[in-house]
Symmetry: C2
Subunit: 218 residues, 2 copies
């Protein structure tokens, strides 16, 4: 645990990229990869990659590189991916439905265990293999199913109340799609996906005539 505590946010982000690329290569039948090859695939410098991976106890061999099997195993452990994350989705509108049917979630260890919606005509319907539950059942089901993560896909006005209820029921992490800041204090972790602000920043770049990816600075 102590090694993990010292890894800064941007490094964690790169570790998830390394893991994804290493898994892809392993699945393709490769057994090792050099920092240079990783760098070329990911658009990163090989010095950066060697530094990041040495943080997590991986040291490539000269002329050989990293053994993919060991690299994947180590990164999965460090990133908490050697477990299943039980997840609730609140809001079964178009966005919630898109999230439910988003393939990578399931493949990467996130299991949707309950889906809630406030609209009476949505409750009871089945979407993407999940029966939509009424909001009244939220606390009970989150506790009963030991759900740790919550995805907030409700309108802005309802987001804070939904967050409060999820946290109260035991959720430790929230992924927020509502275009508002959630106040969770020190009760939970929260990450936001603000589609508008992303598009705004892209438009800003374009209006300046700037080229290339704006993701690196995130």
């Amino acid at each position: 645990m102590s090694a993990r505590q010292t890894i800064p946010g941007p490094t964690v982000k790169r570790l998830t990229l390394y893991l994804r690329e290493a898994e892809r290569r392993l699945a393709a039948g490769e057994s090792q990869v050099s920092s240079r090859e990783l760098g070329r695939s990911l658009g990163l410098g090989d010095t950066q990659i060697r530094k990041d991976l040495s943080h997590v106890g991986q040291f490539g061999q000269a002329g050989v590189g990293y053994r993919l099997h060991s690299l994947v195993e180590q990164l999965r452990g460090i990133l908490g991916k050697d477990r299943i994350w039980r997840t609730a989705v609140v809001g079964a509108g178009r966005l919630g439905q898109a999230i439910m049917s988003y393939g990578p979630f399931a493949r990467e260890g996130f299991e949707i265990c309950a889906v809630f919606d406030a609209a009476p005509d949505m409750v009871g319907k089945e979407v993407g293999g999940h029966r939509i539950r009424p909001m009244e059942d939220l606390e009970m089901l989150v506790r009963e199913r030991e759900i740790l993560l919550g995805i907030v896909a409700v309108p802005r006005e309802a987001a804070q109340q939904v967050a409060d209820r999820l946290i109260e029921a035991g959720v430790l992490g929230l992924l927020n799609f509502a275009p508002t800041r959630l106040d969770v204090g020190d009760r939970a972790s929260v990450a936001s996906v603000d589609l508008s602000s992303r598009l705004e920043r892209l438009a800003f770049q374009v209006s300046l005539g700037l080229k290339g990816s704006i993701d690196a600075e995130d």
Copy 2:
């Protein structure tokens, strides 16, 4: 233009937050706001806010703060929001549909001018007021409708080709939802929304027992 060129990415992100909050307050009938009030609403320090806003030529008055009307106007100009961004959506699956029906996009100056899909049974259907067009029409419609931004909501395997075609047709900025890195070189700007990696980082925070928002570091 030169003032805008010098604004670093994280500051731009905060400027979009200030604009949204200032617009909200203006719509609520307020006429001025202090850096302290802004800070409280957004979870930021007032020193940070004063510094950011002085960058864009806004100086609050002691005891009064910023005039909201002037603040909104100035921020809109700087962020390129005093114009309409003509946008194409490629991929009309669940994610594409969620994006099309995402209210804030339209409210904030992004106009969806064309929607494309490769699936023959999708073409011709109407979704969210947009008739879905076949991929063959992409180049023609992007040129004809002077579309500058493209939203890539196709599977990973198709994403790079779609990006290349959009850029070739004249698109200058791409918002990429496919879980892959797009190689655009210096031909366009690209911003990615990687839902999995966001959820992964959240899970990582939770597994460490860390609380609070992980957005600030982005």
